[in-house]
Amino acid sequence: MSDAKGFKSWLTTIDHKRIGLLYFWTALTFFLIGGLEALVIRAQLAQPNGHIVSAEMFNQLFTMHGTTMLFLALMPLSSAFFNYIIPLQIGARDVAFPRLNAFSYWVFLLGGLLLNASWFVGPLFHAGALSVAPDGGWFAYANLTERQFSPGPNIDFYQLGVQILGISSLAAGFNFIVTILNLRAPGMTMMRLPVFAWMTLVTQFIVITAFPVLTVVLLLLMFDRLFGAHFFLASAGATPLLWQHLFWIFGHPEVYILILPAMGIVSEVLPTFARKPLFGYTVVVYSGVLIGFMGWGVWSHHMFAVGLGPVADSAFAATTMLIAIPTGVKIFNWIGTLWGGDIRGTTALHFAVGFIAMFIIGGLSGVSHASPPADLQQTDTYYVVAHFHYVLFGGSVFGLFAGIYYWWPKMTGRLLNEPLGKWHFWLQLVGMNLAFFPMHLIGLLGMPRRVYTYAPELGVGALNLVSTIGAFLIAVSILVFLFNVWRSARYGQIAPNDPWGGATLEWSIPSPPPAYNFSVIPTVTSRLPRWKTAHHEPIHDPPAAPPAPIHVPGGSWWPLMAACGLPVMALAALTHSVWPAFGGAAILLFGIYRWAFEPLEG
């Protein structure tokens, strides 16, 4: 990692490893904030007729919990690994566009701050409350989110914050596609690419195709709210269903943006600790690509209750069920990887196996609402909340923690404590099943989602209490993790280059790697370059010192400056005045101009 010290060196960094760490710590912070929001939600619902927060506050909490976890925690935690690990896995010195990479991070940070500023700025809008956080759900269905029904700035914060976050994701998406396609080390053909890099590539293609849809639909809503356009107004001859279609055309691929990176991580962790190559590499890769394509053809399964008619319902039921096949194939191949292995039960392996075990449950409950008639009883109830927490918490979060325990030594140079890691794992596993399994029953017994209160007559009070206890147990497990992180920073064992005996290139260089990553770019001859296979000898790790000095470009202020223009422009829409738009655009353009003409050898 770059040796420069001090605050300035972080603001101007264009080193993919530092940006990866920035993504990691920022996303972890947002993950904790989203978790706190979940705890308040669960405290409110622990009993019928809960009175901990008001209806208004509850609606803000569940909206921000979802928005935060998806856009500010899970996606950027994946980005942390894309940034830190992908260049190392493919034998590159950095990403293709390092300054664009810094821009992505700063835009993400500022978008996240803008969204969360809404918790504190109510008085500026004469709102009569401290908090004016978004309150229309992360899906922000029009026409509820139109000015007529949501007059406050709440939905403006959502619409502007998410728009800005989309810009960050798009910039990063193009960057990583170019990086993976163009910067691979000599000999690393596409079919020698580590599966994590493959899943990253698929994810980024989904990002650059799905996010523009979100960009457009948010713009339409902005036009409705700011200028009285009527894209979603039934009274003006339009239909609010347009929002639902466009949102879910983005929203379902978004699910795969959240899960494919975790699937990639699991596909790295299992072979390392089973000491066996990934079973069915080609099939795992192709099924990931197939999931990426099929994710586009299923959006209306979020809309079965709309009443689109038997033909549309049947078609989308069929495509949705089809997507279960490549997903199942991946699971079987992971089990095939473990089968016949020599499995070392590290914490990373625990989390990877936890991913498989929990994802199976989420996948199976998913099949039950792929069936439209069954879905009509399940959608918008806690049953669906149970389902997507099994795939996003049991799946994505477990997968990301597998990645954290696996790559922590590479990223920080120190090991995490293994016994503490296993405490974390078991508490989190028990906690999540206590929290989310009862929700299946709560939903089947008739409790809808997004309700701040429920009647005791519903008979789901005890189940909700169990669920709340589970949520707090998850919080305890996360505290164990944070303690482990703190302990590792102070007392952690210094990590060697390769603590696990990994097969991929990131383990061939120091932990953390030097600024230039590889003293000599390796030449790859097999899918598992560091393992001996039937036809290949392992490659030699690069020498400790480069044979000749390697020039690493210095930092740049301009990505940060350009990024700052975006929230300033957002102020225009928030304050209904045009000047911040010009001011923000000027900052953005000036930043981009200086960036474009910045001398390379700065």
């Binding site: 208004e56 069915g280 199942g328 069936s371 089947l444 809808p448 989602r449 008979g459």
Partner: protein
């Protein structure tokens, strides 16, 4: 509906019942109390509800089978191949074409077995009732339900009456934002979307009171948008229709009820509420037969004088965001009591 009625059905019904008993027992054990679960999707009381329940039960058992098999496989792999000192290096198996084909086809076959009954149920429950069915129009409002019976000339709110064992054709729309009409024991949910009319059909098979609520997030009081469907015997339904079709009885002269009517008629109430022959407002629920309702405020409270008085005095404090404003200038306690007496007399 989906399953042919006949001898072959008995075995399945047994399995279904057992499953339901098992699930309900588990739920009861966890829930601690023996509540009747008024919104349980697992205790359907209509042809539509049962069709969905059969389908879900099938899918549920497929899921259980797959769950047990795959998780067992995973556990066996973990235990059998855990690290032991001296274990020889694993064989670097890279894949197996026969296995890949097998575990692609196996889920495909199961999914076909799920998809076929799914399609049949979709078609069987598409929302078309016979043409002589009772027609009810549901209109979602923030945060209450309006029901119109176009062929009977009845307009009411929040409590829907239907006859037992007769087909009911429900058409659903919204006056403001998107809601979702859901009575779990009678039917799957159906969105109420402004500018669209959607349909559902069901035939309730036992007399009783079925509770439900809005299932699509519709703003601050989404949680407080309850509803009830009262399934009446034929004779009770006819009586109800007769009462609803008649206007309200004139109050006795100089009674507290008549005083209430006078207060009502000079208050802001009449701008939003209809009482046949008294006030024409259409923003809020029709109150012509308010006294025969069992609940107020879209199922939030019992229709008793205490709750009604609190509601009339200050609705937004009981139901966040309620569009029925706090009265300005405030009504005196006596005036509120008079209105309560009047409204409750409207049977």
């Amino acid at each position: 509906m989906v399953r042919p009625k006949g001898k072959s059905d008995l075995g399945t019904v047994d399995a279904v019942t057992r499953c339901r008993l098992w699930l309900t027992t588990a739920a009861l054990a966890l829930a601690g109390c023996a509540g009747p679960f008024p919104q349980s999707t697992l205790r359907p009381r209509s042809d539509y509800g049962r069709a969905i329940d059969h389908l879900f039960t099938d899918i549920f058992w497929w899921a259980v089978i797959v769950f047990v098999l795959v998780e067992a496989l995973l556990l066996i792999a973990l235990v059998r191949f855990r690290h032991r000192e001296g274990r020889p290096a694993p064989k670097p198996a890279r894949g197996n074409t026969a296995l890949e084909i097998g575990w692609t086809l196996a889920p495909a076959v199961i999914l076909v077995l799920v998809a076929v009954p799914t399609m049949r149920t979709i078609l069987a429950t598409a929302g078309d009732a016979p043409s002589d069915a009772l027609k009810v129009e549901v209109i979602g409002h923030q945060w209450w339900w309006e029901y119109k019976y176009p062929n009977l000339g009845i307009v009411t709110a929040n409590e829907m009456h239907v006859p037992v064992a007769k087909p009911v054709q429900v058409s659903i729309t919204s006056a403001d934002v998107i809601h979702s009409f859901w009575v779990p024991r009678l039917a799957g949910k159906r969105d109420a979307t402004p500018g669209h009319v959607t349909r559902m059909a069901f035939r309730a098979d036992s007399v009783g009171e079925y509770s439900g609520q809005c299932a699509e997030f519709c703003g601050v009081s989404h949680a407080n948008m309850g509803l009830r469907v009262l399934v009446d015997s034929d004779s009770a339904f006819e009586r109800w229709v007769k009462t609803e079709q008649g206007g309200p009885e004139a109050p006795a002269p100089a009674s507290p009820v008549e005083r209430g009517k006078a207060v009502y008629s000079r208050s802001a109430c009449l701008a939003c509420h209809t009482i046949q022959g008294v006030s024409p407002g259409v923003m809020g629920p029709n109150l012509t037969h308010f006294g025969s309702n069992t609940t107020i405020a879209a199922g939030m409270f019992a229709n008793d004088p205490a709750h009604l008085a609190a509601w009339i005095a200050d609705a937004p404090s009981l139901k966040p965001g309620s569009l029925m404003p706090r009265m300005q200038p405030p009504l005196s306690d006596a005036e509120v009591a008079a209105i309560v007496a009047y409204l409750q007399s409207l049977k």
